[in-house]
Subunit: 315 residues, 6 copies
């Protein structure tokens, strides 16, 4: 007989047990909840990081979380416009979008970027479903400013399709192309769209995967990373100019989401391996968390009081 | 008082009543069934016809039918390739598809044609959802022939997503781009894909909207239009060369579908106003119908025997 | 091979398609609703008309409508009383009903007329179930006027049995014999009973099949047929004597029904072929329609806005 | 204060407790089962007995039994025929039934006798629903013998309506008028019809309420009352002429019922107060019980073994 | 053939039928309700009586009642303490309970008395489940008085487990050992615990099985047995000292139960054969019944009005 | 403003993410399964270890596993017997158990040890429910050997109650006292009982918490710890005497369980912190695993193929 003697160490590190024990209430807590992940930055452009993020999202789906992915694709659009000889122009940080450009935006976002994310996720199965704002009229917009052409401002989210897919066996992956009531297409900011969608689908959390560790009181000083703040504090920091300009759309999206009942918004570093899991399954989490100003102190009757207490106090 | 006296004629034509009376059992019969509509030709290219077809499909959904739309887009692809300076070449009627061409095919089919059908249908609500074969790995293919590049031969249909959407509030509109197990994309024939999908989702009927009234024994002679034939007869006509070459993929798709249990295949003229309704809701239908060779004579016990008899004998 | 070439015309009239297209939202709208049909007049006495009306009602049941039939039988009762040598006398249009007469009324209505309608309907299956007011105490009445003997005035409808049968595989056919709390039987007006039953079962519509095209402002002038009016207008017309005496019980029944939440009351000509289908499945309908004075303008969120609009505006 | 001191005896008879204790498993055993009661004889003609039988049947319904009542009405029919001057003639014990007689039979059975039983039962609520064989085509017959006119022999029972009503809040009361596939009516033997209906609805028991205590080996000798016998024994007694002629249709109906899976047939004396309850709720029962020849010895796993044993051995 | 002629009497006593007829509405009324039985006294100590009580409780379970048993065990505890040489001391009728005594109490109540009742009930199947207050923290108490040691006063009942078992196939049998929030055990009065548990589980009735026929206005005079009284009257009798001291905890428990919505409290003589059945299944019941002061006069709509009336007026 | 800056490290160890990522499929895999834990040894005697094991079991319940605990209590029994002056004697490793001893065993196991485990687990809520083999006749035994007195050999497990509680909000904690069909109690080996119970409830896994790291080929040589073996190999090792005597009952129990369809048996060191979690939630697990000889290679269709593959290959 040939017994399998070596593959299991006789001793195992106590630390693994502690990590598991710590994670278990969080597993329970997030099971069945909807988590919206705004995906972008290096974690989307780097193929290896992208593969790992897609795998982690599939793992979330497997344990019963309902992830919803929202993405834009600014860099690919700029590159395609340049290849096509279309002018690239920005007014107040917003891309001027002609009809021709919009046609290209649509094909790049819905026809290429979206399908590539879908394909990367479907390496692990058949869960990912690519959507654009035109499908079931998910994102309805109107013209934001005549000078900007087909740049849209969001009027309404039709969330039924997203909720149906997320409640089923699927992971919706949404390209932020919007449709107008005039039948035309509009180009909308992906961060802003993510905030509206999180609000509309009643997400439990919204996570922004970025290239930085979170928000800083002083961007140059890593010691000033903000771990946790209230919605009120977030508004103050935007008002007094503390927050860097590039973070404003993300922070505004957090405000939109929390105002509509989303429980927590997180800005985390998507380049940290397993960043999403660390955020969702450890007591401390990572990055910057924004929470509502006043939370109800009513905690539902729980069969396990001390764990309930823990879950109430943290994250 | 101002009574509304004129808007209703005191007498109404008996014919309307007869049409309604005839249609009622058919309404009942198709309620809850899945009908796959392979959409193409003039009915897709002409904006007015397209609008009416889309409206009829929405009406079907409203009364409880589960329509599923499958489309290609050959003409638009050729035009785009020419605009992009890519060579347009066919071998044995199949488009040679380089990697660059495939990228364009994908963007045109999934990013433009599909989204335009979705938008036209969503003029009437929020039902249409655009899909490509990459979503939930709906259409999995492998290379058909190295000379043809990324032309694919279908290996497997993952039908769950289509069935879930069709059973819900949605009308899936599927662009026939396939994915390979190598992670790449493949260009597949839309008629062939329609046959495989109808088979996989257990459709009740498959309808091909074309530019002609149906199949002819002698294409030049309108008197030879075939109203009804069996699967066996269809195979014979293909074998002896009676059927024109252009109809072969459609007829093959019918064979695929019927062999897998689809009850009826129809080739109808999409340019006839309300062609789909005439086919589904009248005793005689239109176009060419192909039915299985031997049908079970078991008719489930029905509370209404003479209507059941009628439904058994026709269509 | 012997193809079936002739049975389907290559071209079909556009009109059929238009009738079908128009009917589809109405099919949807009436599916699942309860429609009470007060049956009487020539359409009940003429065997051929009766056969067609019964067939149309069975068709309604097949497509998911829940029809409930209410009938009287004055002419047969008078004939039987004469055959039995019982005196036929009316006071204020109401039949004086002795105990012997009541016994005969009961046997004629419940034992013969009702069973004949049941049998005619069951030519098409096993759906019709004959009931009298004594079954499950459906119609409870008390003596209306000592001079009239066993003429009853309705006190209460026990609607459970009717609703259970209509929600199941059955079409209740109700003979309007009532029971009293004293254990005796009462003779009640069938139109009045129909109004009370429609109210009690929460019917969507009540239809009176009569021998005329509807209500007239001036009965002698066909130009004055009223197509549509409100409940308020109906009350006014009764108050000022415009409506002919024979129509008063029907109109009172309409008022009873609409006051209790029935959505529409219709007085139509039962001798028009397929009159019920024309009323239920065309935009214009036939006959005279009475609607509530003020209708809620709240229209439930619909996935198909323009059809919803149509359904709101008409019928 | 005025306490209620006298209404309850300080001591109660042990016997009441024993009766209750004995009855409890039987209550449990019959809950949810269908019991067909063929009603007739003195228990139906005597108003006081009828009232008590109706009350006992309503009590059965209250505790969850599903009673179904089947009745004829020979004496009333003969009386009515005589009143109408129609000839009363029998061939081999079967009433010769002309078309005129059939019309009268129908009105007497469905329009009077049935409605009177319904009314007597509905003294206690709204449970009774009168039916004839024409309703939902419950009893389908064909001509038995041209000499007998409209005397029918049963071809088929459509049991759905009976089962639906009995499973709901209702007690079906069935007048044994049958319909033919020719659209005509037929007069059928009520005992025979009861046996067919019990078989078709899968009754647990069939009870014949008669004017005697049961079957006798020697009718003149009360000592020879048969308490219990098998189906085989019943067949033998009919074959050798032991059983009196008048009991043959009842016994044949028992055979029909048991052959189709009815568990027990009972012939009991309907004039004994609470005869039905004594039969159903005591260990010994009353009258003559007929059981299948071989019963499965498989007893389903019971949480209460000794009670299960008792229930297996008796009744 | 060997017919079974003697085992059934040709005539049965009318009285049995009357008992059954009277019991039927009560069977219906208690089916599905929860009945808490506080068990104790001679009916628990005498093996034969105990066997019969257990059998009657199993019969209740069989017919669909949900019995819950609560018991103490004072005599066994005293005996065990004496055997162990522990001092037996009472202050104001309450047993002074040291830690050692508590350990013994726990083992005697949960480890012996409880298990013996469970075993006696499981003679009839597998329904009985023994519980103590520690299981699922059913009974939570705190120290009542430092002088009494581990005598507890009840703070909270966690009723979920009792309700789940009673709603399932089980009969919970609860030993009245309580747990404290300090993790320790407490000795609580079984009558008092029964009242709290009946209140917490929403029992329909609470029954105290005692050694006397009920409460007396004058304990020495059997004529003064109280058959029925209101909660208000019960409070008055306690206040003015009419009720004997030993009955006070039982009466207080009745008050606790009725104040929380229990419909009836009964104090009955557990030594009367089938006492529980006589109380639950006869119009008059036995013993002393206490009912709320004011009862809602709303009687739910009943299909059987006269029985409903009866059920409203009695018990 | 006072931001929370320090509580979250800007960088987190990659290892935590890897542990979480590895654990996620296992979380999914064990959710909804039943895991029987035979509890004993130092992990039960040491208060701190016991507290941690109880917490880990509660965590399992929280994430959706259905744990079932089985325990004995040899040391406490011996101590109590000595205190009571009862002789402690063993024959072939089995405790000779007189009737007096059995009474003590029962009170110690069901009245004390069981209740202490229940109390320790209920520190975290209200999940634990203590049971003995007498409750719902869970463990039915017969005398094993007259010389051993009330030592029992298991005849039957009635698993319904355990399954009902485990499927609900509860964690059953079972003291291994058995009942006989003679109404008496029996002392059974806890390891053996655990094996029978695991088999009867269809557990997914059985875990034995012991004081050693698993099974050894050579007990003195830690290098010979067996990580994994088949049922066949386990039988061989018992047959040839390799396995130490003390492990034989555990190994026999594993065989009983696996033979009845339990998927995996594990013998692990209960003194390793979080031993249960390490076994259930890591790829390698700990201790000795025994698996069936031949496992079905059929793997159910999984949406996530590579994870399915991993789950098939390990543990």
């Amino acid at each position: 007989m040939n017994f399998d003697k070596e593959t299991r160490p006789a001793a195992v590190p106590r630390e693994i047990g502690d990590v598991l024990s710590e994670a278990m209430p969080w597993f329970k807590k997030i099971t069945g909840t909807t988590v919206l992940i705004k995906y972008g930055g290096a974690a989307m452009e780097n193929a290896e990081l992208r593969a790992q993020v897609m795998a982690d999202i599939v793992l979330l789906k497997i344990i019963g979380v309902k992830p919803v992915i929202v993405h834009g694709g600014g860099k690919e659009i700029s590159a395609a416009m340049e290849r096509s000889g279309l002018p690239v122009e920005f007014i107040d940080g917003q891309r001027v979008t002609s009809d021709e450009a919009m046609d290209l935006v649509r094909m790049i976002l819905a026809g290429r970027v979206n399908q590539e994310l879908v394909a990367a996720m479907n390496e692990h199965g058949t869960m990912a479903v690519g959507l654009s704002g035109a499908d079931a009229h998910i994102i309805v917009a109107e013209q934001a400013d005549p000078r900007l052409g087909r740049v849209g401002s969001i009027k309404r989210i039709n969330s039924g399709l997203i909720e149906d897919l997320a409640a089923g066996d699927y992971i919706p992956v949404i390209a932020t192309v919007a449709v107008g009531e005039d039948g035309g297409y509009y180009n909308v900011n992906a961060d802003v769209a993510a905030g509206h969608i999180a609000a509309a689908i009643g997400a439990h959390k919204i996570l922004f995967l970025t290239d930085v560790d979170g928000l800083y009181l002083d961007y140059g000083d890593p010691e000033t990373l903000i771990s946790k703040m209230t919605l009120h504090e977030a508004r103050s920091l935007m008002a007094d100019g503390t927050i860097s300009k590039g973070m404003i759309p993300k922070l505004n999206a957090c405000v939109t989401a929390l105002d509509s009942g989303v429980h927590r918004a997180h800005i985390i570093n998507g380049t940290v391996p397993h960043a999403i899991l660390l955020e969702l399954l450890t007591d401390k989490g990572i990055g910057t968390m924004i929470k509502p100003d006043e939370e109800s102190v009513v905690v539902p009757a729980s069969p396990v009081d001390n764990f309930a207490q823990k879950l109430k106090e943290h994250q």
